[in-house]
Amino acid sequence: MSRRVYLDHNASTPVHPEVVAEMLPYWTERFGNPSSVHGFGREARDAVDTARARIAGFLRAAPEEIVFTSGGTESDNLAVKGLALGGARGHLITSQIEHHAVLRTCQALEAGGLAVTYLPVDQHGLVDPDDVKRAIRPDTVAISVMHANSEIGTVQPVAAIGAIAREHGIPFHVDAVQSFGKIAVDPAALGIDVLSMSSHKIYGPKGIGALYIRRGTRMVAIQHGGDHERRRRAGTENVPGIVGFGKAVELRDREMRPEAERLQALRDRLADGVRARLDDVRLVGHSVERLPATANLAFRQVESESIVLGLDLKGVAVSAGSACTAGHVEPSHVLAAVGLPVDWAMGAVRCSLGRSTTAEDVDYVIECLETVVGKLRRLLPTGSL
């Protein structure tokens, strides 16, 4: 295998070399605990503060509005459970296409007595803000709608939903794990009270994430211990991770806009190229309101896992829209929610581009998809017995 092409950046990204360089001293020489009063502690504290300021600046927020967590899943858990104030009573509004970190947290709260409305989406994966308005009840404690969907890339009308939330005085959480650092996110301008972020989706290290919590937002902590993170999240800070996350955000500030433009052109080249060469291919998600580097392509009557395997054997990494567990395959909840027919949904493949992706890579992937899908289709049973 000569060529290797990674088109799974929505799953994870390689850590930027400048990020690695910035992190290195914090494993060894500057290993102090930021809570310690001595010099070792102070230099670690300074590093955490610098990273916090960088992330806050990127969001046009105040540093004290940023809380570090262990990643996107923890951020979502803290946001949803924290806003539900423990979650024994009340009502929460979310959508059917949230990441499992939000969906399963809602389900857990539901089991404990909280009522949850799971809003549907249209065929493009968009939540209708009017549906949000209609779902509001006197006891609604929070609204949680993601910014961009990781599978299909659809970007939600968060500004409109944020305005509704503000109008009704309901806290609004946005899971921005997949959009943060890829498209502009300004929580204050969008009416967002709490925003989840992750580092490893934007060329930072794994195991670190953050929450933006607008000043004055009422939330409870879900992890108890010391007074870290203004008592929002107890636990000694992951200093190297925080340093890396801060650096990754600083780099995104510089690279995000030009890269988005470049990747959008490559993404369209990929989708157009595949559709020109193969029949029965569909682009899933919204044609415009979509992440610049995500293309979810559904190939009718082909099993996505065999496409992924076929591509993998040609050095290309993408991800399947349906996962097989113990011989049971179902299209993802996102593909089901957008109403994609099963014979299409079973063949959905997500391609997510990133900083290393070139036009040559894209052309190679188009070629590979034509070969792999063509071959799998030739194996298909014809007619019925």
Binding site: E303, E305, S306, L309, G327, P381, L385
Partner: protein, 126 residues
């Protein structure tokens, strides 16, 4: 998920894939859990399997299992196919991950169905 080199080879280069004109027997297996499907066509000469062709829809292991089985069955008595077990196919693939064992099952089911089809036709001929 890790696959054997035999499985990968059969997935990449499926043997005996495609339709057969006027087959002596046809059988299909389907796995409800994931919709995987294998269909076998047999040419039978004096009670023995001559040519085997297959068509398949499903994950890589299902395609590989159908391919490897198409080689295994050549030359066997059709009666033997009535008792084909998934273990034999799995063994020929050098193993299957636990969560992909349905691949061997769906193929074994299709082969048994093809053998039954031939026997039924035989009964009619007699």
């Amino acid at each position: 998920v890790k696959y054997s080199s035999v499985l990968i080879d059969h997935f990449l280069n499926p043997r005996n894939a495609g339709l057969m004109r006027d087959p002596d027997a046809v059988g299909q297996g389907e796995y409800e859990g994931c919709g995987d499907l294998a269909r076998f066509f047999l040419r039978v000469r004096e009670g023995q399997v001559g040519e085997v062709r297959f068509q398949a829809y499903g994950c890589g292991p299902t395609i590989a299992a159908a391919s490897v089985a198409s080689e295994l069955m050549g030359g066997r008595a059709v009666g033997d196919l009535l008792h084909v077990k998934p273990d034999e196919i799995e063994h020929a693939l050098d193993g299957l991950p636990e969560e992909r064992r349905h691949a061997a099952e769906v193929v074994a089911q299709a082969l048994r169905a093809a053998a039954q089809d031939w026997h039924q036709k035989e009964d009619h001929r007699v």
